[in-house]
């Protein structure tokens, strides 16, 4: 069960406002959270708390394939995003980083910015106040990746390299 405060946004939120393109080749991951959602909501990075939930309308994460747009949300402590629909590459980027992209238009309509909602993954239900909304199960391939904690971790298991040290991601100039 996940319970968190909601940050709610509209339709067609694109990856340029989630993580501006000017940061794509020159920022180490340790700096990502500081710029999360920078051109969408400047308060987000300052006030987001671990366990908070991002809620959005249709086509969330459209535009660039840049994975940092999902990673910066994860590094902000958010592991659940509820939207009416997701742009396809963003959906995959969430899954591959262990962030749950849940599709539930009715719940999105019921949620107000700042609400605290709960997500029951076992029964596919989102609780908003007194109401509950069901969302479709994630497919098998997606579930496997989420359960492993992301694509890299799943592949390490599959490739039999789990026992090897996991190098930290660093920049050559660091």
């Amino acid at each position: 069960m996940y319970t968190g405060k909601c940050w709610k946004y509209g339709d067609d939120v694109n990856t340029d406002v989630l993580f501006p393109g000017k940061y794509t080749y020159n920022l180490p991951p340790s700096e990502f959270a500081k710029h999360a959602l920078e051109d969408l909501d400047p308060d987000f990075a300052k006030q987001v708390k671990p366990g908070d939930i991002v809620v959005a309308g249709r086509n969330f994460g459209c535009g660039s394939s840049r994975e940092q747009a999902a990673v910066c949300v994860k590094l902000s402590g958010v592991t659940v995003i509820i939207a009416k629909s997701f742009a396809r590459i963003y959906f995959r980027n969430c899954v591959n980083n262990g962030v749950l992209p849940l599709v539930c238009p009715a719940a999105v309509d019921a949620i107000t910015h700042g609400d605290t909602v709960s997500v029951d993954l076992e029964h596919n239900l989102i609780y908003v106040g007194e109401r509950s909304f069901s969302f479709p199960s994630l497919s098998g391939s997606v579930k496997d990746i989420i359960d492993a904690g992301g694509l890299i971790l799943m592949l390490r298991r599959k490739l039999g390299t789990e026992h090897l040290p996991m190098p930290e991601i660093k920049f050559s100039s660091e």
């Binding site: 393109g21 995959r92 996991m166």
Partner: protein, 433 residues
């Protein structure tokens, strides 16, 4: 009522059957595909770091990798230079044959020019505009960085066979109207998520009437429609373009390559189970503009009056090719860019720049007061080479006008065809040629 032919297949079903080694696959099925080509660019160094986390030392199929340095090239700052240096180390260490240096051009243009993707093949890339390769009838889809690391290690990745939308095109564009105008109108009509998750499959005699330049714009822009991939049926014009380039790169004659290209081309069945069908008469379109800050916020250019332009930009994988530069030259030859307006032209590749120089376009554009940039993505995603100031208006031939896209949050971007961008540079305000 239309009878359903169970054996009839969409392009996506046929292409992903081939890519997954299955005799037949159906929409909705999840398949493990082994792409013929895997694209990355300046993000190659970041992908290498993820690859190292997998605990694998060698790329499984190094000859399938396609790498260009284009997104922030030449390097605008030390961090970007370090990034490029790391990409070069990766290329050397892993023996990557198909890697292109700074200045060669934008990935999608370069791989098309080098015929490093072919009809019927599948290419996955860490770039959202990998839909581009639909121009030649290839299956191209964007994926994330972790997924490209996975592809380097294992050669395969899961994909869901997408629903498909059929778009039949008839007729011909009127003079001054381009595929860019068509795409903006389509996205404006059906919305930025109008093709979400879908394979956008074009058909009809309108495709064959179109120049290759126009055909390259369409699948590129379908990324802004939410598409997974897009497809135009390849014809003899496509085969001739690619076989000439294969002959140049690999030796032999054009005739050596034609049969192979014709054989491996994939054609959708007209009676396949399309999710939706649309028809457009190309002669009915007019020059369009996408207004800030959405690609689907579209109006005919004729409706915009008095919008002052500070910067006009012609370039990118969408509209930075020879025909685009020719269209700009047509508008600007013998005239001058308006005072107070800057015109930046960045050819999509070194070949485009070379040909535009030979044909005299570059000289004419310089005489008209344009700046010419080094073949690359330029300021498209705000890294450098034309970042606007706060409050400035840019009109651009690129594909995205999201807030902050070009590096400055409180600036505005309008999208249009190269001819409209050039005319706007000339007038200093948005207008038709």
């Amino acid at each position: 009522m239309q009878t359903i032919n169970q054996n009839a297949k969409t392009f996506a079903e046929k292409a992903l059957a081939r890519a997954s080694g299955n005799a037949s696959v159906s929409t909705g099925q999840i398949v493990d595909v082994t792409p013929d080509a895997v694209l990355s660019h300046d993000n190659t160094a970041a992908i290498w770091k993820l690859f190292k986390q997998l605990g694998v030392s060698n790329v499984k199929y190094p000859d399938r990798l396609r790498i260009t340095l284009d997104h922030a090239a030449p390097a605008p700052a030390t961090q970007h230079a370090q990034n490029h240096a790391e990409v070069r180390r990766f290329v050397a260490e892993q023996g990557i044959k198909h890697a292109f240096e700074v200045g060669r051009g934008i990935c999608h243009q370069v791989l098309s020019e080098e015929a490093l993707v072919l009809p019927g093949q599948t290419i996955l890339g860490a770039d959202s505009h990998t839909t581009h390769y639909g121009w030649m009838g290839a299956f191209g889809a964007g994926v994330g960085r972790s997924e490209v690391a996975a592809l380097w290690a294992t050669g395969e990745l899961w994909l869901r066979v997408p629903e498909a939308m059929q778009i039949e095109l008839t007729g011909k564009f009127r003079p001054g109207v381009t595929a860019k105008d068509f795409c903006l109108q389509l996205i404006g009509n059906l919305g930025a998520d109008g093709g979400l998750y879908q394979s956008i499959e074009f058909c009809g005699q309108g495709v064959a009437q179109m120049s290759l330049n126009d055909r390259m714009t369409i699948p590129n822009m379908m990324a802004e429609f939410g598409a997974k991939n897009a497809y135009l049926p390849p014809d003899e014009t496509v085969f001739a373009y690619l076989s000439a380039r294969l002959a140049k790169r690999l030796g032999g004659t054009v005739e050596n390559y034609l049969p192979q290209l014709q054989t491996q081309a994939i054609y959708a069945d007209a009676d396949a189970a399309y999710h939706s069908r649309h028809h457009f008469d190309l002669s009915a379109f007019e020059p369009m503009v996408a207004q800030p800050h959405r690609v689907d916020n579209v109006v005919p250019v004729s409706q915009l009056k008095g919008i002052r332009v500070h910067q006009a930009f012609i370039g990118t994988c969408t509209n930075g090719r020879l025909e685009d530069i020719a269209a700009a030259c047509e508008v600007l030859r013998g005239k001058k860019v308006a005072a107070g307006t800057r015109l930046l032209i960045i050819p999509a590749s070194s070949q485009v720049l070379r040909e535009a120089t030979t044909l005299g376009y570059i000289g004419d554009l310089l005489d008209a007061g344009a700046m010419i940039g080094i073949p690359s993505c330029g300021p498209c995603m705000g890294n450098h080479m034309g970042v606007p100031a706060s409050g400035e208006v840019t009109i651009s031939s690129a594909n995205r006008n999201f807030k902050g896209r070009m590096g400055t949050r409180d600036s505005e971007i309008y999208l249009a065809s190269p001819a409209v961008v050039a005319a706007s540079a000339l007038a200093g305000e948005i207008c038709a040629p």
